[in-house]
Structures are given as C-alpha cells and as structure tokens.
C-alpha cells in the first residue's frame, strides 16, 4: 500500500445539478518529469458523480483507438470502488487547467497512474465519511463495493449517487491509501472498450462526422512539391460548379506547423468542394526541393555512412582502433524508407471563426500545440481559441501535428463562416509527416569468446526535429534520431554511434515508436548476424550481453531507469512461450528480437516458413513488460496491433519521393497489411514487474522487422537488410 498526500492537489466542490466535482491538480501530483516539464500550468482533471449514480470521468488525453478512455477511467473506478457499468468517459476540450494534454510516447497511463487513482481513493473516503455520518457509525465499519457504501453490521447501504451532494461538503482527507494489486477488482481484468457501444452503432462522432450550424465544406489543392508555392490561379471554373461558394488561397505556414500553400474550394457539400477543386487551374512555383528524390537521399546517406559521421552521439572505448586491427570485421548496411501514418480517418478539422474568436472541433493528439499554433497563425491570443476534441480514426503520431487545425482556422477566417476542411486519402498520403528514411551501417568484430569486442554504428536520416526547429537541440540532431541505435543495451567494450544529417524537404514526424522503428531493425538484425558468426544461440547470446544503456545523454525520465533484468525477462518469456529451441515442423524456423522503447520492454518470436520464395508467418509470440497491466484486453490489443502494424511496414509500406513530392496516391500504391495477410496466431504475454506502469502503445512495433528478418534468415540463410523486406507473402 502506498500513502499519498494529496492535500496539495485536490479540490472538491458541489457540482451543478447536485453532484460532486473533484478538481485534481496534476502538476502537484504527477511524478517528477513525467508531465513533460515544459508546461507547468494548472493542470486538472474532473470526476463527476451524478445523482443518477453515473460517474463521469473527463479524460484529458486523446482517444485514437489505444483505449485510453477505458484505462484512465479504470484508474479512477478501481480506487473509487465504482460500478463499472455506470462509469462514463467524457471528451475533454483544451484548457491549460488540464495540463499537458499531448497524447503520445505511450505516456497516458504512466502520467495519470498516481493522480487518477488518488482521486478515486479520495472520493471513496469522502463518500464513506458521508454515509457513516448519516448512519451515526464509525467510518471504519463501512465498506464499499459497486458504487455502494455498506455498513458492515446490519444491512444498510447507500448508493454513491445519493451521497454525492453531501459528500462534497466533507473535509478532504489528508491521506488516502491506494489499493495493493492483490485487492484490485476492476483493474488487471479484461474490459472491452468504454466506447464500443457508440462505435458499433455508428453513432460515435469522429472529426469527419462533426456538423455545426451553417457549416460549409472545403477541399484544398496543396502543392505536390514540398516547398512549392502558388504562383497564380484561376478560380472561375471552380466557382461555376453548383454548390461552390468561395475559392481562397492558403498562403502556407512554415517550419514547426507546415501548412502547405494551396487553394481551398469552399462549397455547400463535400462532393461539390472536391469537384470545384478539380476545376481549378493553378500555376505553381516548384521551390527549392523539386529535384529531390528517394534515390538522391539514398545516394548521399549511403555515402555518409561510409565515413565518420558529422556527430558522434555516443562513444566508449576505441571502436575504430579495435576494428582496424581486427582480422575479421562483420558489416551490415540497413536501409529503410519513408513511411506514412495512413490513419483510417484522413486528416480533417472543423473551424468556426467569429468576432475575433475561433472554435475548432479537431481530431488532434495535441490540442495544446493546435491552440498555440492556431492563435499564432490567426494573430489571436490563445484564450480566443477553443479546441474541442473529437473521436479519432487512428493517430499513431500523425495527429500531433497542428497543420490540419491551423489550415481549417485559416479557411474559416478567410470566408467568415464555419467550415469543415476534408482531406482526401490522396491529400493524407501526400501531405503527411513521414517517418524518415534512413541508412544504417554497423561494423563489428568479435573477441575470442565470440562476443562482440567492437561495434561502430553509423546512421544517416533526415532528422525529425529539423521539421520543427531551426537550430539543433542541445547535443545535436543525432540523439533523437538514434534512439534505439546509440542507446542499445548490449555490453560491448568498444562502441560508438555516429550521425549524419540528411537534408530533405519532406516533412517528418513521429510515426508510432519513432526512431526505434529503424534503429532496432539494424541493431537486432546485426546482433543475429553476430550470433550466427559466433555459432551461438540468438537468445543465449542476447541474454549474455544485455547490460545497461550506455548513453551519454541525460535520461529523459530518470525515475524510470532501464533495467536489464526486465529486458531479459521478456526475452526469456517470449522464447519459452514460443518453444524456442524445440523441434519445429519441417521447413519452419524461428527468429527473435527484443528492445526497449518508450520505457517499456518487448520481445518477439516469429515462426515462419519460406516455400518457393513465398513467406508464411505461422505464429507470432510477443512478451512485454510495462509494469502492472491496467486493462489486459486493451494492452493485448496494443501488442497485437503493434505487431501487425510492424509487419505491415516490414513487408509492404514504402513512401517514394519523386520530384520533391510523394509518388504514392492511395492504398493501391501505398498498401497496408490486410486481414488475409495478417498472421492468424499472435500470442501476447505480460511480465508485470512490480513498479509504476509505463505504456503499451508503441513498444511492440520496433522489434518486428528484425525479428521477422531473423526468422527469414534462419529459414533461408538469406539476410534481408532493406525495408520493406524483399519477399512476398504466400
């Protein structure tokens, strides 16, 4: 049991309508550093108990399918001893009082673990005190269950809804005890998502479904060459389309936001807006990036990793010296393409500008940033901007970017009417913020015991940060780009990681798990090659050298230190569950990989066969450790979904740059893994280390590509080092 002093951060008041309102100051309660550190406003979150017994939790994070509305509501409900069937989750709107509402980095449960459970426990104590007073008994004689307070002696009970109004006048207890895991009733057990009802009825409202009075629809023709601008345009033909109301130029907003220059066609319905857009004639200025291509990037990145990197991100011992003296250097060059997020719901946003204020209904992962950038672009104070969150058809990091929100606000301001800017799939695929392409070169040598003696890892990518800031962060561009590379956790006495920035006009962003998606592909493939060269078992080889993270950068979250035992734990569990080392059906082989991503640990085993050059994935086993599991059902969904998204990227996805723009247009050319291609058997297991939880949203993605490539290598003897892997599914 842990005791929490929450006097600093809890305020309880009577709510309008007779309920109980709890305001939690998250800043005073959140674990150090976990709130992001940069925005110390007055963060709060609300819990409301209504007289009709429903309990409404306002979720200060964005729901995009990761189940955060369910898991965060469970944190409150568990400690409150609430009737789960009466718990509702409410979408938040952006307000600095909620604190950092940015949803990403697998951080939602981690950040809210203490404050939301403490809120539930405090409320429970106050409801108990109210009932005890009512009955004239000692509070210690009362128990709670399923939204009732019971009196142990006798059969008296009162529902929370009946107690809420009076409970609001109770003094707030100074300390409450949080439940031990063994006492959990709701958490740790499978729950289906809190939103499954409206979703399966078709009534859940996504950004794309928002309708506000007087709303028009807009479709925007944006420059297809990154960095291009509008030279001139003719709007007559567009205006002649029935239903088209207006045509306005979008000037574009630069670095940090990246609203592309273009021309918006505004109409009374989506179809007319799109038809009008097709009728536009636009003369473009191509800009400085028109000659860039995936091939040109590859050529310079390949050359870059053949020499010393511009930045030395990490170094220990003398890798160059040891490699120079080695009789045998084992080398590998790994290449990965740009990737698109390809959320099922294309970007969109509805905005209403009126009287110097603007209201938005935005499927955004980061309303804080959207608010700030909309204010800046429109020349308003942030308090004149209101961003309402909507349900989101997937996020995966794409919706962190404020471009679609700013764009809608600009259009609404230009026409002086509410407008929904609808992106087509083509718009979405060709104006994403892409996972950067990369080239990795690793050179390594083995000592007499077969263990690596030297390891030099060179990385070149177009940095993500360059899309958001003019100057590199302290420590250079390299550290963020080499997450998963420079900080890999194997014990090697002489090692280094070098980074060379690749210039590119392609907007870059945070694609689920970010830089580890390519870094871990290179590292975990290479480790397997080294194990093979040493004639050692890949599992034993890894376990023998999983050590600490050698990383000269200060850790982002020192309170969640890397633990070698946890990485070894998931690796061993995955191997055991997969039956690693046991006889397999003829032609089958297994590959394994593991890694540390966003403070969580994951290991994966892929059982495959390759017949006539065609790949079959028979079984996937994933084991993960993010600490205690709040909702196993939701966590499993994240692991399985992460594995399949990783497979989609490993086998199919590639954005190609041609003439400074994206060559792919729709799902026919940017194809995602379909249900008939996804493995039938994915088994997910947890190691629940007794610590504060981290998150499951991302860590299952990065080990996939290497794990699969390792399995293919063991099945065929062929090492594939380029993504997507050059192999077709059976």
């Amino acid at each position: 049991m842990s005791a929490v002093n929450r006097r600093d951060f809890l305020k309880v008041t009577a709510a309008v309508g007779g309920g109980l309102l709890v305001t939690i100051n998250l800043a005073a309660c959140r674990d150090k550093g976990a709130a992001g550190g940069t925005k110390a406003a007055d963060p709060s979150v609300f819990v409301r108990i209504n007289p009709d017994n429903t309990i409404v939790v306002t979720i200060p994070k964005s729901e995009m399918g990761q189940g955060v509305r369910t898991s965060l509501a469970m944190l409150v409900a568990e400690e409150l001893d609430a009737d789960w069937n009466q718990v509702r989750a409410e979408l938040a709107y952006y307000d600095p009082k909620f604190g950092d509402m940015g949803t990403g980095g697998s951080s939602s449960v981690r950040q809210n673990w203490m404050p939301l459970r403490t809120a539930g426990a405090t409320l429970r104590a106050m409801l108990v005190a109210t009932a005890a007073k009512e009955w004239g008994v000692d509070a210690a004689e009362c128990t709670t269950d399923n939204s009732f307070v019971h009196h142990a002696k006798g059969d008296r009970k009162l529902h929370y809804g009946a107690l809420a109004a009076k409970a609001a006048t109770q003094p707030i207890p100074a300390d409450v005890k949080l439940k031990a895991k063994a006492d959990w009733k709701l958490m740790g057990k499978d729950r289906v998502g809190i939103d499954v009802g409206p979703i399966t009825h078709g009534t859940a409202q996504y950004g794309l479904d928002v309708k506000v009075p007087g709303m028009l629809y807009a479709s925007i023709e944006r420059t297809l060459v990154f960095g291009g601008t509008v030279k001139s345009f003719d709007k007559a033909a567009a205006l002649a389309v029935p239903g088209v109301k207006d045509v306005v130029e979008i000037k574009g907003v630069g670095i940090g936001v990246t609203v592309h220059p273009g021309v918006a066609v505004v109409a009374t319905n989506t179809w007319a807006a799109m038809k009008g857009r097709k009728a536009l004639t636009i003369q473009w200025e191509a800009g400085p990036h028109a000659a860039e291509s995936s091939e040109s990037y590859l050529a310079t990145m390949r050359a870059a990793v053949e020499k010393k990197g511009e930045e030395t991100v990490n170094t220990k011992g003398d890798p160059d010296g040891v490699l120079a003296k080695s009789a045998k250097v084992i080398s590998g060059v790994f290449e990965t393409p740009f990737l698109s997020h390809a959320t099922m719901e294309p970007m969109n946003c509805t905005a209403s500008f009126k009287d110097g204020q603007v209201e938005l209904w935005s499927p955004t992962q980061y309303p804080d940033m959207a608010t700030a950038e909309v204010a800046k672009a429109l020349g308003l104070k942030p308090e004149k901007v209101r961003v309402n969150l909507t349900m989101m058809g997937g996020g995966f990091g794409r919706r962190i970017n404020p471009d679609f929100s700013v764009e809608a606000a600009l259009v609404s301001k230009a026409i002086g009417q509410p407008v929904k800017v609808v992106w087509t799939r083509e718009d979405d695929l060709r104006h994403d913020f892409y996972r950067p392409c990369s080239v990795h070169r690793i050179d390594a040598s083995l000592g007499p015991d077969g263990m690596p003696e030297a390891w030099r890892h060179r990385v070149s990518t177009p940095s993500i940060d360059v899309s958001y800031q003019e100057k590199p962060p302290e420590g250079g561009w390299g550290p963020n780009e080499t997450d998963g590379s420079a900080n890999m956790s194997y014990r090697i006495p002489n090692r280094s990681c070098e980074y060379t920035l690749q210039a590119s006009g392609v907007p870059r962003g945070w694609w689920r798990a970010v830089s580890t998606t390519h870094g871990m592909f290179a590292v975990e493939s290479m480790i397997d090659d080294l194990a093979a060269a040493a004639g050692k078992d890949p599992v034993e080889y890894r376990i023998a050298m999983i050590d600490g993270v050698w990383w000269k950068q200060p850790p982002d979250f020192p309170e969640y230190p890397f633990r070698a035992d946890r990485l070894k734990g998931v690796l061993q569990l995955a191997a055991d569950k997969a039956g690693w080392g046991k006889p397999l059906p003829k032609g089958h082989a297994m590959g394994i990989s593991c890694g540390y991503d966003h403070l969580s640990y994951a290991a994966e085993v892929f059982e495959v066969s390759v017949v006539n050059d065609r790949l079959r994935i028979h079984r996937v086993v994933v084991a993960a450790d993010a600490g205690p599991v709040v909702n196993p059902n939701g966590a499993r969904a994240m692991l399985e979904g992460g594995v399949i998204m990783g497979l989609s990227a490993a086998l199919k996805e590639r954005v190609t740059i041609k003439g400074g723009g994206v060559a792919q247009k729709n799902f026919d050319s940017y194809s995602l893994l379909r249900i008939n291609e996804a493995p039938v058997v994915i088994e997910a297991y947890f190691v629940e280390t007794d610590t504060a939880p981290t998150g499951f949203g991302e860590p299952a993605v990065p080990p996939v590509a290497a794990g699969l490539a390792n399995a293919i290598f063991r099945a065929t003897g062929k090492r594939l080092r380029t993504l997507p892997l050059d192999i077709k599914l059976a």
């Binding site: 995009m64 399918g65 189940g67 289906v192 998502g193 939103d195 499954v196 009802g197 979703i199 399966t200 009825h201 078709g202 009534t203 859940a204 409202q205 996504y206 794309l208 479904d209 309708k211 629809y217 029935p242 239903g243 319905n269 989506t270 179809w271 007319a272 038809k275 959320t343 099922m344 719901e345 294309p346 349900m391 989101m392 058809g393 997937g394 996020g395 995966f396 609808v422 087509t424 799939r425 059902n633 969904a637 399985e640 979904g641 594995v643 399949i644 998204m645 989609s648 729709n666 799902f667 026919d668 995602l672 893994l673 379909r674 249900i675 008939n676 291609e677 996804a678 039938v680 994915i682």
Partner: protein, 152 residues
C-alpha cells in the same frame, strides 16, 4: 436530379448531383455518418453499406443508381434496441480499436455470414480482405465473425 430510395427501412428522397456518390448522399444529406469516407476508390472498405442485402462500397456507387433500392447502414442494422448479432459479437470480442473502420467491417461481416462464407478462419479472412483496419484488430474481427457463424 431526384432520387428516391429506402434507407434503413424508411423511404427517402433527395435532390442530388447525378455524379455524386451514395456515400455523399448518406453522409452530407441524410446525416448518416456511420459510413466513413476513407479512400474514395474502394480500397479501404470504410464506406461499406448493404444495398438490397449486398455489401456495397458507397463511395463507388452513384447515388442516383440506387433509386428504388433498399440501403442498410450501420445506424439501421439493429432491430430497435436489439443489436444485430454481429454488432454484439464485435462488442464481445472487442473487435475494434479506433472504430473508424468498424461500421464497414460489421456490414461486410453481415454479408459474409449471410453468404455462408464464414465456415473457416481463412474464408472469413478472404471475404473480409477488402476492409482495412490500420489499428489491426484483425484477430478479434476474425474471432467475432466466426463466433456468430458458430452460433447460427
């Protein structure tokens, strides 16, 4: 031009552009936003509705071509308060994450079951392969459809 059709059991009429898609009519004019606009070229299946019981990509069929037909969208699938067994199975199996593709998945699954093509996992996977799910709730979708098939 005018089109008259039955939507979720109710006769409706509307003035539409002769080249507008059924999806536009449903979403913008009838306010039935359960059918989603995902790709507009029949690649993703998010706009799937049933037309006279057959699974149909509403982004690829003209609104006017559906005159006199009976369209079922996700909003009309339940029988009053009684959920369609496929809706219930999607809930029971948590066969969704973000839920954006779910209306299309459910209607494709209804058609798959009605066509008697849910006898094996592979049959379901083949039939449902036109419906993308980026969150990849694929294992649960197969399980949900198979559970309904088993109960029939």
């Amino acid at each position: 031009m005018e089109v008259r059709l039955t939507v979720n059991g109710r006769e409706r009429g509307a003035e539409v552009d002769p080249r507008a898609a059924l999806l536009d009519l449903l979403r913008d004019q009838f306010g039935l936003t359960g059918a989603k606009r995902g790709c507009e070229r029949g690649e993703c299946g998010a706009c799937t509705v049933l037309v006279d019981g057959r699974p149909t990509l509403s982004c690829l069929t003209l609104a006017v071509a559906n005159g006199g037909r009976s369209v079922t969208t996700i909003e009309g699938l339940a029988d009053g308060d009684r959920l369609h067994p496929v809706q219930q199975a999607f809930i029971d199996h948590d066969a969704l994450q973000c839920g954006f593709c779910t209306p299309g998945q459910i209607l494709a699954a209804v058609a798959c079951l009605d066509a008697g093509r849910a006898n094996t996992d592979d049959e379901v996977r083949e039939w449902m392969s036109g419906n993308l799910c980026r969150c990849a709730a694929y294992p649960q979708i197969v399980a949900a459809v198979r559970a309904v098939a088993a109960a029939r």
